[in-house]
Structure formats: structure tokens, C-alpha cells
Symmetry: D2
């Protein structure tokens, strides 16, 4: 599945559970922030070396991938609510970044 | 461009600026959290109605889309560093969510 | 107990558990961010009216107070590590804010 | 000034600028999260050693202290809105932590 298909699936999932009324942009951004912190939590007490090792450990990285997915699921839900094409948004921002941070 | 192409472009962008040494998983997650808060900031003082209206205003939503892109750029960078296929991670998490939250 | 006494107690608590080596400024700020998100989580799906009602409900507010305390405990730990007098820091920032946002 | 005096001053500051209507618990927690991320931002690309050195540099630490104060100002505003005694909340949480994490 590509992003538009995943976005439609995430919407259908929320709709089937009557969650859509909670999915205002403000609430979705808050919920996404909470998932982001759960991702952060995996790394908080690790040295940089331990963090890198943990993130590459096939077992211990599983919850890290799940938190990444949780952030992305809310991001796609927000993009759906706002009608944002995330791939286009990334491309546009990369073009701006290229002007802001010229390559040496 | 699809996600693998965007991921490669983001990596090349960082590489050309000698930023790769900073891109440990721990640092990338922190940087992504900061971008997430910049997205949150656009909504903090708005009523739910104002937040929804703002997010659909063609002019005022532009910085919101840019913050969404900033979060995603770091997410794709992190996924690249960790070797995570984000579309597969979302699909797997949706399957888990379906077990955790059965449809009524 | 006042803030200096609480700060000393928090340090002694961490010391007795051999946690001090983990309490670098970078790690403490990450840990505090995670506690902040746990505070945020209580409010994410509530309307402003529900959030206000919840926060004043004598039972449901208990975990909110605990998350506030968790943020503050890490803040006092960070202030201790950095040698910051938090009351003085607040006072100085309020003086700056008064210049930045003149009263009408 | 002690915390009750600072809390009263922060309330008067907001009142004089007609900000009180924006200070719902939900909004204050969001605003506090944003300030927390601004604190995090100072540390995101630093090694643990650089972060510690920066935080102790008398010049470079000034903005760090200001971000700490910004978080605390919103925390005291939230405590005021909710009628929370923050020193008591910290004390209570420390007592709970002592049960949860017994000293070795």
C-alpha cells in the first residue's frame, strides 16, 4: 500500500470506531506529540552509542518502529483532515531548505 | 517522488552539508520532537473552531504544512538511519491496532 | 519544604539509586519532555470545556497533578545539575516579558 | 519572591494583557509543551559532553535558563488555574516514587 491507500485505511479505521469527531486538527496534533514523546522515551537514558545499538537490535527496535508508525498514523490522519499531500509538502520544503542552507 | 526517492534525497541533502555525523537516532528523535512542537505552536491558543478554520485557510495553512513536512523529513531521515520501511511499519501497526481496538 | 529543600531531596533520591550518572542536562531535558507529553495526554481528546471540568474534578485531577509533579521533579533536578536558582530565573524572565509585552 | 508570590505576579501579568481567556488547562499544557521543546532544541545536536559544557558556560546557558523559566511560568499559571499547590504536589509524588522505586 502507498500513502494514499494507507491514509484511506486509517480514515476508515477511525470512522468504524466513531473516532472522527475527536479528530480536529488541534487534537490530532496533540495526540501526535504524545506519540512522539513515546518515541523519545526509548532513547532518553541511553548514551549515543547505546541508542544506536538499541535501534539496530532486531528485537529491541520493534517498539521503536511501532512508535514511529504511531506518529505517522496521526500525521496521515492530520494530512487527510487538512487535505495535505504529504509527499508534495516534503518536496516543497526540501526546495525551501535548499535555498535556506545552500550546499557548500 | 515516492517515499524511497524522498528518503534518498533527504540523505543526499544532509550528506552534502556534512550533517550525517549529527544524525544519531537519539539526536534525530530530539530534532523531530522540536519540529512537532513548532507544529503544535500554531494551534495552542486557538479554539477548536479557530484551529479548524486556520488549518483550512489557504494562506494561514502554509506554515502548518511546512511544519508537517519538517517532522516528516526527520522521520524519513530516522527511518533511513534505522533501515525502517515506514509504509510497512504503518501497515503492521494498523494490523496490531485492529486487534487492540476491535471494530464494534 | 521549599524549593531548595525539595531540590536536595530529589538529588538524594537519585543518588541513593545510582541514577546521577544518567542525569546529564541532555538526558534530563528529554525525560522532562516525556513527562510533559504524559501531562498533555490527559487533555488530548477533550473539548476545552471537558478539559476544564476534568482538571477541576477532585478524583480525575489526581493523575494530572502527578504529571505536573513529574515535570517539576525533573526541572528541579536539571536546575540542580546546572546550578540554576529557578525562582530567580522566573523573576528575571518576567522582567524581560514585561519589556517584550508592555501592558496596554 | 517565593512561588505563591510569583504565581500571583504571573496571573496579574496575564490579566493586564487580557490573556486569561486563553488560559484554559488544555491551552496552557500545549503552550508549556512548546516551551519545553524550545529548551530541548538547545541540546539536540550536541554530544553529551558538549551539552554539559554548554549548560555550564556562563554566556551560552542564559537562553537555557530563560527556556526553563518559560516552562515554569506556564506551569505556575496552570497550577494557579487548577488550584494546585506545586510544592505539595512534588512532595506527594516523591513519597509515591519512594514506594515505587525502593532504595537499594
Amino acid at each position: 500500500m502507498d500513502l494514499p491507500e494507507l491514509t484511506a485505511e486509517i480514515r476508515a479505521f477511525a470512522e468504524a470506531r466513531d473516532w472522527l469527531p475527536y479528530h480536529s486538527p488541534k487534537n490530532l496534533v496533540m495526540a501526535m506529540s504524545v506519540e512522539m514523546a513515546e518515541l523519545l522515551e526509548h532513547f532518553q537514558w541511553l548514551t549515543p552509542e547505546q541508542a544506536t545499538a538499541m535501534a539496530h537490535d532486531p528485537v529491541r527496535r520493534v517498539p521503536v518502529e511501532e512508535e514511529m508508525a504511531d506518529v505517522l498514523i496521526y500525521m496521515l490522519r492530520l494530512a487527510d483532515v487538512l487535505g495535505v499531500d504529504v509527499e508534495a509538502a516534503i518536496r516543497d520544503k526540501m526546495a525551501k531548505n535548499a535555498l535556506k542552507y545552500p550546499a557548500p
